[in-house]
């Protein structure tokens, strides 16, 4: 995959996605000790950058595609549901029976069917295969897919168009789709990753020089709980990401509260991971005056006021 794939994806999805704003905050600049530009993908349609990748993948499907299917209890499910609805293709989202009613309602609201299954990965994958067999639907995975990666990279392209002289970009890492797309989009700009310490497979993989699979992951940043990087995303991250910073749950909660209170934007915990990394002590060693951070999503259930 190359930079050209991102540029093509940007042209393809432009009629469907929102060009999200780039936010700044004097308070955050002061705390970070540098200028920070926040690409606010929480304002993207369906509430996260995932809509970019899903739209790129769905728009590339041939006419006559009988349906799309994925398993996701999170942002990719909502994104695929909406992207398919726009194209007029039936979508089925496999969700664990334990997923929240709010998340099911969101997917149903975008016109997709919800199929419940057990919570384990084998059960989810079996449910997807069963739907494929029955309906002829194509599976669109959440990150390990060239068109999905290319779509996610368009957020970096927009950020660099608006702030061309960035020294570095920071993106959170789950399965690696977002940061892989950013690597391809970033040209010579440095790319750093951010991970919860409780789901640090990418940091461990970088350290080991090979894909590390975690048995268990745990974090409030529920969008980043992937146990391992993808086959496509790992080599890009291995070769192109300069360093992965890990942050504690306390750091994530502090960054979340900070962004809510001072920037007034309702990011989800996964989006706070990149902010927490930039504010962390180890990040001070990075010499970069102007950095971009993607606020990847805003799908968080708030306590009632």
């Amino acid at each position: 995959m190359t930079h050209a794939a991102i540029v093509e994806a940007a042209a393809r999805i432009a009629p469907f996605v929102r060009r999200t704003p780039v936010l700044t905050s004097r308070t955050l600049d002061a705390l970070a000790g540098r200028a920070v530009y926040f690409k606010a993908e929480l304002f993207q349609i369906t509430g996260s950058f995932k809509y970019r990748g899903a739209t790129n993948a769905v728009q590339k499907l041939p006419a006559g595609t009988r349906g799309v299917v994925t398993h996701s209890s999170g942002n990719h499910g909502q994104a695929l549901a909406k992207a398919a609805q726009i194209r007029g293709i039936p979508a089925t989202i496999v969700m664990p029976a334990t997923a929240s009613a709010v998340k099911k309602a969101a997917v149903l609201g975008y016109g997709a069917a919800v199929v419940e299954c057990g919570a384990s990965l084998p059960e989810r994958e079996a449910a997807v295969r069963s739907i494929q067999d029955k309906t002829g639907a194509l599976a669109i995975p959440p990150f390990d897919h060239e068109d999905v990666i290319a779509g996610q990279g368009t957020a970096a392209l927009e950020l660099l168009e608006e702030i061309p002289d960035l020294d570095a970009i920071v993106a959170p890492v789950g399965g690696g789709g977002l940061i892989s797309g950013f690597c391809l989009a970033a040209g010579s700009v440095r790319v750093f990753g951010a991970e919860p310490a409780g789901a640090d497979d990418a940091a461990r993989s970088k350290a080991a020089g090979e894909r590390v699979r975690l048995e268990k992951t745990s974090s409030i940043a529920d969008g980043l709980l992937a146990n391992y990087l993808g086959e496509l995303t790992w080599p890009i991250i291995r070769d192109r990401v300069e360093q992965i910073f890990t942050v504690s749950e306390d750091e994530i909660r502090a960054a979340l509260t900070l962004v809510w209170e001072r920037m007034k934007v309702l990011i989800e915990p996964s989006a706070a991971v990149g902010v927490a990394a930039v504010l962390s002590e180890p990040f001070r060693a990075v010499k970069a005056d102007r950095i971009g951070v993607v606020l990847c999503g805003g799908n968080v259930t708030l306590p009632a006021i």
Copy 2:
């Protein structure tokens, strides 16, 4: 006061205030049955439009002014503290001893002194007079002041520059400073007000044709709990505001949750009042395809996640 006062204020405060974005949401448009443009003053410095009025008033003070003082447990206190800090003038904010630690910390963080007093209006006013006598500070009231009104109006000027063909503007009403400024800025554009039913002095005043003073007010929208309109703001509202819509606490909470969940911006309850009015059944009678709504502030203490 005239439109020219708003234009002058805009030029005066331009170096100090943030030009806030105008947001849109397909979900909110669909619910409102028209195109709604949200002027996002929650992103203003100090978290509310109050910084515009405070900055205009403070920037107009003569050189050698010895200090400014106000009583406020809310957004005007923070705004005046910051505006005075920028000008290098000492500020004292009188707050009831019962005000939250967070609000006191915000004012202290902007370099102002906090003086605690009793919660009643006479106690607050006495504390302000005592500080004036001791320090020679000038009192800058929260709304009933020409320079404050003119500053608030600059938000409407920006909104109309960005979306020139609005049919109407909706603003929440507390003491009336914001909506008075909007009336002066709006030219021929229609202006509507929005109030909590529990603090409906403006609606009652319009109905009575004279200023009505409420003995008690109560609402989650704590920025709109004024008991009566100002001497300056009342005639402007009487003559120029087409209608004041009142909304219930349930409507305010529903609008607050809706904006948080769907627009991902952390407005405070007072800002939800305008949104609730636009979504209310009585507002459907207003024939206006394109309306502006000011999201007046974002200073809300969230429950911990």
